[in-house]
Each structure stands twice: as structure tokens, then as C-alpha cells.
Subunit: 261 residues, 2 copies
């Protein structure tokens, strides 16, 4: 059945690429050449952290993860949904792609719920509850290229900081009813590396069992684990193809790490 569906790409672009203007510009030029519809989800980069620092706002970290207090929520909403989102949207428009900058709050496209404060209170952080795939599909059908900042809202109108990798996964799953979806996580590495010091040590394929093994062996650690969990969840819930690769490989079908069921 899925062979009959039109193709669509969901592309996540990581914060390290956002922080590198020439790499970001080249990436946006690349994706503007994509012929199928796509949805772009962007991360935040260091701008929010720098701005918080300049404003004298302390970023509280627990187990390596930022706590989003009220001042931080305001900053990430400003930086992600304001500056980064609209800069990317305007740039894609200048490259003849009809980009539409969004957050989950817009058209209630991605609704979330504040994470429970136990055992750790991460503050104004949202876990995704629902993607309005039908409304997003209609916007895509009209010729728009949605560009998402990683901000969502709950049904009571509370804005919430949301993980961009998870947002890309949830959107990819939500669109799988309407499209044969390829989800690509683009970042500053060539893929999942078996040796973090060696850019050529890309693991070409990972599936759920091998992921568990890699995790046990300590080969994939820290930031890569939640990214791979998102990738595996996507492939197990209807997304056709999932790949993690360098931002410069976005137009290629090969390269990087492919996730299989």
C-alpha cells in the first residue's frame, strides 16, 4: 500500500550546523533543490545559550540537560521561533521554496504536555502528545514547505521547549499516513561513528538489536542515544527510511547511517 503514496522528506538540521553560517547556507541551497515536498525541523544551536549568558540568566543543568525556567523559555522561543526560524524561512523563500515558518503552537500542529516534575523537574519542557498530520498534509499539498522550530504548546496555551529530534520523529510518523516518508537527521558528523575520533568509522546500518548491543558496549553514548531511539521509533511506526548523515550529504541517497527495522 505504501508504494502508492507520494514521497516526502522530513529533515532535521542540528544546532551545530545552525551555528556555522557557511555550512547552513550550503545546506539550505542543497535542500532547495529537492524535488519532493519536505518538512524541515531545526534545532537551536548556541545562540540561545549565548543570549542567556549576555542577559545574566543562569542555565541550570541536570544530568547534562538544560532546565527550562520561565526566563529560558522566553529566550528559546525568541531565538528558535523568532530569529532562527524566520531567517531560515526568508532564505528558503529567496531560493524559490515556498517556506512557512512554524512552531507546534501554530494551527495546533504539534501539541505537547509539560513533562512531569518527578523524578527531575526540567521546567517548561514539553513531551509531544499529538501531531495534526492532516492539517500539515494540507499545507504541504498547497505547496508550502513547513519549517519547524522546536517549540510546542499544550492545550491550555502554555508554550513548551521541545526536543527537535523528537519533534522530527513525531512529525515523520504523523505524516506516514499520507506519504512514503524519509526522515533524515543531518548534523556535523558523517553518521553514527564506531570511533568518535575517526570520521571514517561510520556504522552503515543499525537496527534495534544492534543498537542495544552498541549501547551495551558503550560504542554509542550520550547525545547519540536519544537520537537513535528517535530514529528506531520512527522506523518502527511507519516511516519508510531513516538516515543519520552529515548536512552536506542531504541530497545523496547513500552515506551516513541507515536505520532499518
Amino acid at each position: 500500500m505504501s508504494a502508492a503514496l507520494p514521497k516526502l522528506q522530513v529533515i532535521k538540521i542540528g544546532g551545530n550546523v545552525i551555528d556555522n553560517p557557511p555550512l547552513l547556507e550550503a545546506f539550505l541551497t542543497d535542500i532547495s533543490k529537492i524535488k519532493s515536498p519536505f518538512v524541515l525541523v531545526h534545532g537551536g544551536g548556541k545562540i540561545a545559550t549565548e543570549m542567556a549568558k549576555e542577559l545574566g540568566i543562569q542555565s541550570q543543568m541536570i544530568e547534562g540537560r538544560r532546565v527550562t525556567d520561565t526566563a529560558s523559555l522566553k529566550i528559546v522561543t525568541m531565538v528558535y521561533a523568532g530569529w532562527i526560524n524566520k531567517s531560515i524561512t526568508a532564505t528558503l523563500q529567496s531560493k524559490q521554496k515556498n517556506a512557512l515558518g512554524l512552531t507546534g503552537a501554530d494551527a495546533a500542529l504539534v501539541l505537547s504536555k509539560k513533562r512531569k516534575p518527578h523524578p527531575i523537574d526540567y521546567g517548561w519542557v514539553g513531551d509531544i502528545e499529538q501531531v495534526n498530520g492532516k492539517a500539515l498534509h494540507e499545507l504541504v499539498q498547497q505547496g508550502y514547505y513547513p519549517v519547524f522550530a522546536p517549540i510546542t504548546a499544550d492545550k491550555q496555551g502554555q508554550l513548551l521547549n521541545t526536543n527537535a529530534d523528537t519533534m522530527a520523529q513525531a512529525i515523520a510518523i504523523g505524516l506516514s499516513e499520507f506519504y512514503e516518508v524519509t526522515l533524515t537527521y543531518c548534523f556535523e558528523k558523517n553518521g553514527v561513528l564506531s570511533n568518535p575520533e575517526d570520521d571514517n568509522s561510520v556504522i552503515p546500518h543499525i537496527h534495534e538489536a544492534s543498537f542495544l548491543q552498541l549501547k551495551e558496549q558503550g560504542i554509542v553514548t550520550a547525545g547519540m542515544i536519544p537520537k537513535l531511539e528517535n530514529a528506531i521509533k520512527a522506523i518502527s511506526q511507519g516511516v519508510n527510511t531513516v538516515r543519520l548523515c552529515h548536512a552536506s550529504q542531504v541530497l545523496l541517497n547513500e552515506g551516513g547511517t541507515k536505520i532499518t527495522a
Copy 2:
């Protein structure tokens, strides 16, 4: 002919209301009761100025108008298109209005051109060149309530700071082909006052000739002149009704100052 068109409201909400959370909340509750489609355009308020101050960025003013340098453009985009726009959008969503937060850059809905640097260089300020009324009409037809921040872009992808009153006027004119448009400028005063000290001195009707007279007599001055120029331009270019009133009067048909041709 215009009698056959469906009704639509374009509502501009001023910065002083944005700066007053209880007044803003009451205003959003009010407009969520409007039965016809509407487009909301919001101003900026003092948040951007305060943030610039906290970041140690000097706001250069020429003849009472702010110069938008690169640092200021970043701040207004963050504050207007990020924090204010998404807060309003999420709040309207919680009140069962399917709000969609936008800038002119999104879907190229409002394209502008950087203002010429002579005789005064205002920096990254955009003068509106084109409203994509058809695309906006389609979004309205889909049941969306567009919420615009006063940021636009040119065709080269440059974001530009744009006057919110002018943006509301241009959007109202751009939608007049498809709707019988009512444009309402909501602010913290009861209308155009003949005596700024007396809140009850509202001038009930102004047309082009009486505006010129009021201007000559020095009765309308400063910030009110460009607002009235926008109002008169709107009424002369196809907008059905234009009114300036207190934010609390948005649901009423009476009250405030009505602009007539």
C-alpha cells in the same frame, strides 16, 4: 458588488496593549468570540526596547523613530516573531481559535523592500511592496486565523522591521478583493481625541479633508498622524470600514473614531 463578499476583520493591536497582560488577555478573550474570520496584526511594545537595554545595545533614534541596525533587527525579530507572536497564537489556540502565527516572510505573504538610506538611513526597515492576498485568503478559507508579527522580508531573504499599522493597512487592502473588510486599530485610547488630556473628547468621524484640517490645526500630532494616514489609505483603496478604538471596544460596532471616504 462588495455586498456579495463575505465579511472579514483585520485587527491591529497596539504595543501598549501588548505591554499590559490583563488588557491583552481580555482582548484575546474578546476576539476569540468573533464569528467572522479575522486577521490579527500585533505591534511590539516595550519588550524589545527593554531587551536591547539589557543586552547593552544602544537604540539610535532619529526624529523620534528607531534606527534598526543589525543587532536591533535580531532583537525585534526574536521578540515580535518569537515571543509575542507565539504567545498570542498559543493563547488563541487555548480559546478554540485556530491561530497561525506568521510574519511577512512566511509563504512570502508580505514582501517589502529596504527603505532607501536617503535622506535618513533607518537601517533594516522595510516598506511593503506586495501582499499575497490570494494565499492569505486560502489560509483563511481553511479556517485559520492568521496572527502577524510586524516583520517582513525582501525577495533576497533579508528580514526587515516593518511598521505594524502599515502592515495592517496593506493586509486589509490586499484582502479587499476577497472580503468585505473591516479594519480596526485597537489601542489604549478611546479613539482619536480632540484633547489628548480628555478621554471623552473622541472625534467620532474623520475623512480625508477633516484629517488635513485637524493636522493643520495641530489637533492630531505625532504618532496619530501616520496611523490616520494608514486608515485613510485603507478606506480609499477598497477597505469597507475603518475604525480606531480602545482595545476593550473591539466587539462593539459603535465607539471610537470611524474613518469615512
